[in-house]
Amino acid sequence: MRMPAADSRTLARRSEIVAALRAIVPGEGVIDDPAELRPYESDGLTAYRQLPMVVVLPETTAQVSAILAWCHANEVKVVPRGAGTSLSGGALPLEDAVLLGLGKFNRVLEIDYADRIAVVQPGVTNLAVTRAVEDRGFYYAPDPSSQIACTIGGNVAENSGGVHCLKYGLTTNNVLACEIVLMDGEVLRIGGRHLDPAGLDLLGVVVGSEGLLGVVTEVTVRILPRPETARALLIGFGSVEGAGQCVADIIAAGIIPAGMEMMDRPAIHAAEAFVQVGYPLDVEALLIVELDGPAAECDHLVVEVERIAFANGAVSVRTSVDEAERIAFWAGRKAAFPAVGRLSPDYYCMDGTIPRRRLPEVLERIRALSRQYGLEVANVFHAGDGNLHPLILYDANIPGQLEQAEAFGNDILRLCVEVGGVLTGEHGVGVEKRDLMPEMFSEDDLKQQQRLKCAFDAKSLLNPGKVFPQLHRCAELGRMHVRRGATPFPDLPRF
């Protein structure tokens, strides 16, 4: 992976930078000992590692502002980090950058049940938001699989989803406001405890900006009353086509399930071998459909979904009768990644989205690629929203296999784009998919995105080397054609 060349002048100033950070964050909040830096060398995309120049762990917005202002004035790059669970390398350190950890921002600041919001610091974990409100019957809806560890700040950066996002939305649909600090140290509040912004929807672009636009220091999220009940169906199909058509017919019947997950044969077998929850092994595709809401609604829809399943050739249908059984149905799906991990020393998790109707064809072509590369693959699929997670099995100890797995993965993502889908449904671009961005976007598209970056961070110091395959200087991107020596509209301010 090609990262921006380290700036030797910055590296030469390391001790001065450490001292400047210590003047802002006293005590143990600045880490420069190489052994203590080691835990920060990678995030959830562990194939890439880089020791940061220095780690700083501020505790207040004022400290974050001072750190960024100093780095801005001294042209030092900054990489923000939450819990470091990103699967796309969004928090991968740079050799010549300060790693800014938000882990000490770990307090729930306020819960307002009348307005149904929680105000939290960015280092609070996703699950801790739900834990803070569940005794009153509320929860925070986005539920990325890493929710016990991942933080709200990281969720905002990555616009995290989860198995329930078809019905309840991604992070962006559940956040009302943020306090953010821009690279020059300016502290802004965007959004509010109300719906809709006064002006431009700046919050809408900050969410999902992968730590490139600002550092989030406070987040206001919506909380929801927990549904009265939930039931799940476990449906086996003799063909992927049958399972795919079942999903389409459920939606055509006006049903938006709380979750709708599909696994292919290799994933089913791996999961069953790992957790033994009674998944059928003689099927090509297994569908988990979860319905939530009032008991009367679930009872009604369970019958509907069963009818649709049989109409599409389901060979086995089980419906959970109690909470224990519902959880058991999910246990295999939730263990799918580690279960696949048992089959092989390493696996590589991909994250494309496709139009659902193309699923049978995409799985067939993934099988062909699997034969071509000589690497096994298991597929799990957020079937409701078309988000496909192929898991490529490889052994990093065999020279060349990591590169082969990555090449295979890139071919899968190109395939997703070719059929009308996207490079990433929920894991983010980071460094992992950065160089594939031109598969989906033209040079002009990417330049327009980078111009937005320039509006927030004109020196491109915040998390450089992520998302965009090619770095342009903002001055170059902002160049306008000046006619007859006159700038158009000289009355307008220029920033």
């Binding site: 991604l170 809709d196 078309g386 009308g420 671009v429």
Partner: protein
């Protein structure tokens, strides 16, 4: 006026305007043309970019050109028992015009969302992707045509509430959802604003999965009415109605509105017909719990109001001091938009609640990122 029929025409019109140092006011159906200061910029009318590009009901995705009329889209979606869940509506009647002119481009650019915005999200939450022409006269695409995507910045979010200040949309991809099988409206009459907001908060915090919650105060011959709309499959709606009734019984007699009365109530929340049509109209967003004291204070000064979004949206007809409205909205933790007013008022009072300087500066830089020459800076806002 420029009336392009293709994206190439849009590019030519913008490039031409930049070359001649002229500014362009992007519009389409004209239903909201009376918002903002009067301007002399040439209109760039996108009504000619019309029609559905792709609609696949099973994928929950619709791609349309911006000039497509909202009512045509709603008819198409209804034929597949689907809808735009944010309940977009036509602003025409608010300005004394017939409904029917509103186009999807204008609806999205204005972030126009109706009562269901409370539970289903706004226009911003349903824009998946777009093609647009920037103020550099360059085409770009952003987002995608699938419901789940985090590839690159979420530029489509900026389209909602942009009011044509960033780029000319040439194609929009929207998320669509199944239309509820049925809806029922549970009502309590005679509540004051404070009690109504409390009641709506209680219902929203329950497991009744309320789709919309609004309150109309009493008027001569009509008691105040607070309504909760429940939508979904019949057995579910019935169960949730019982839940809500049990919850609300201590507050007074609960009624189920008949279909015509319910339809009229929710339609009033879009046309705003209960409010004086000749007074300046404000759209105020606040935390729901802050709305009752605010409307109480402004009513005492002659304001008429309606509450939507469980109190989070106040429609206020008020002839008094604009600064008074803005100060009250800010004190309540929200903001006030001047939706309608005389030409004189609109020439002196900005449409949008003025942001703090740091946010104003960032918004300005974001506008320059799309429109470096300021070709869309018409002075309207």
């Amino acid at each position: 006026m420029a009336l392009p029929n293709s994206e190439a025409d849009v590019i030519a019109a913008i490039s031409d305007a930049v070359a001649r140092n002229e500014r362009l006011a992007i519009m389409s159906g004209g239903s909201k043309s009376a918002v903002g200061a009067n301007i002399d910029a040439a209109p760039l009318c996108l009504a000619g970019l019309e029609g559905v590009v792709d609609y696949d009901p099973a994928e929950l995705v619709l791609t349309v050109r911006p000039g497509t009329r909202l009512q045509d889209i709603e008819t198409l979606l209804a034929s597949e028992r689907q809808m735009l869940a944010f309940e977009p509506f036509d602003h025409g009647p608010i300005f004394g015009k017939a409904a029917g002119a509103a186009t999807i481009g204008g609806v999205v650019a204005a972030g126009a969302a109706g009562s269901r915005r409370l539970s289903a999200g706004g226009a911003r939450d349903h824009v998946l992707g777009l093609r647009a022409v920037s103020g550099r006269a360059e085409t770009f695409v952003a987002g995608a045509k699938v419901v789940k995507n985090v590839t690159g910045y979420d530029l489509p979010k900026l389209a909602a509430n942009s009011w044509g200040r960033l780029f000319a949309i040439t194609e929009l991809t929207l998320k669509v959802l199944p239309r509820p099988e049925m809806a029922t409206t549970v009502a309590l009459s005679g509540l004051d604003a404070g009690k109504a907001v409390e009641m709506m908060a209680q219902a929203m915090g329950s497991q009744a999965d309320v789709a919309a919650a609004a309150h109309q105060p009493s008027s001569p011959g009509k008691p105040a009415l607070t309504c909760l709309r429940l939508e979904g499959f019949a057995p579910s709606v019935a169960a949730r109605s019982r839940l809500v009734e049990a919850l609300l019984v201590p507050l007074g007699p609960v009624t189920l509105l008949d279909d015509d009365t319910a339809k009229a109530f929710w339609s009033d929340m879009q046309t705003l017909s209960p409010l004086a049509s000749d007074a300046p109209l404000w759209r105020i967003n606040v935390p729901p719990s802050a709305s009752a004291p605010l409307v109480g204070a402004l009513e005492a000064e002659g304001g008429q109001w309606l509450l939507d979004w469980a109190g989070g949206l106040i429609w206020l007809a008020f002839d008094g001091d604009p600064d008074r409205v803005r100060a009250a909205a800010a004190a309540a933790g929200g903001h006030a938009m001047l939706m309608r007013g005389s030409a004189g008022l609109r020439s002196t009072v900005p449409v949008f609640h003025p942001p703090v300087p740091a946010v104003a500066a960032l918004e300005e830089r974001v506008r320059r990122a799309f429109d470096p020459a300021g070709v869309f800076e018409t002075g309207r806002f």
